[in-house]
């Protein structure tokens, strides 16, 4: 029972390089999310998707792009990495908008360092 799987787990980039973080979920969830977590701060929403083919901006979207071509996958792209994007990135998914018994399920994170 994999749940939410993030690839890669670690990555070091140089400033200006690009990369894509992959998130895959096997729970047939409609909603998917990308968060970043920085020291001393809570998780902040970057982008989210309410279904296949749809994406929207969250709290801190600048410098990132996303795509949801398949229901089970949600990709986060950095076109030109900057040191300020050094962070731990978490992907999450949920069945629907409701929260009473449908919380978000998180992957184990991708630790990204930009030099």
């Amino acid at each position: 029972n994999a749940g939410v799987t993030q690839t890669p787990k670690f990555r070091v980039l140089k400033t200006g390089q690009s990369m894509t973080l992959l998130c895959a979920q096997d729970m047939n969830h409609e909603y998917m999310y990308w968060y970043r977590q920085d020291p001393g701060m809570g998780l902040r929403l970057i982008h989210y998707s309410v279904g296949e083919g749809t994406t929207a901006k969250g709290e801190v979207p600048d410098g990132y792009n996303v795509s949801r071509l398949k229901k089970q996958n949600f990709l986060l792209g950095l076109e030109s990495a900057a040191p300020s994007q050094t962070s731990v990135y978490f992907c999450a998914s949920s069945q629907s908008r409701g929260f009473s018994n449908q919380p978000q399920h998180f992957g184990d994170g991708t630790r990204l360092s930009i030099l």
Partner: protein, 114 residues
């Protein structure tokens, strides 16, 4: 402007005693509150939630209390166990048109001493 605050970065308790983790929020429009638990190198795991129409929700050793007038919620763990040692995040949920959004606090690191 942090809408969800966890003012205690860390908490240490003895095994068997009660752990009380606190969370304050500023936005009165939040209608669901959740607690997540996070171990190192893992993602947050949902622990317990409470609707804004309730003031208490219990699940085994975990109880969440909500005081809407004070905009304060707390998580009680009784009895505390060494396996409870983790970072606990408080999150508040708001229903925007088309989606729900979670706003997280900065977390409290709980250490349960054997």
């Amino acid at each position: 402007d942090q809408q969800v605050k966890q003012n205690s970065p860390s908490l240490s308790v003895q095994e068997g005693r009660i752990s009380i983790l606190n969370c304050d929020y500023t936005n009165s429009m939040f209608d669901y509150f959740l607690w997540y638990k996070k171990y190192p190198a893992e993602g947050p795991t949902f622990l317990i939630s409470i609707s804004s129409i309730k003031d208490k929700n219990e699940d085994g050793r975990f109880t969440v209390f909500l005081n809407k007038s004070a905009k304060h919620l707390s998580l009680h763990i009784v009895p505390s166990q060494p396996g409870d040692s983790a970072v606990y995040f408080c999150a508040a949920s708001l229903d925007y048109t088309g989606r729900r959004a979670l706003t997280f606090g900065s977390g409290t690191r709980l250490q349960v001493q054997p």
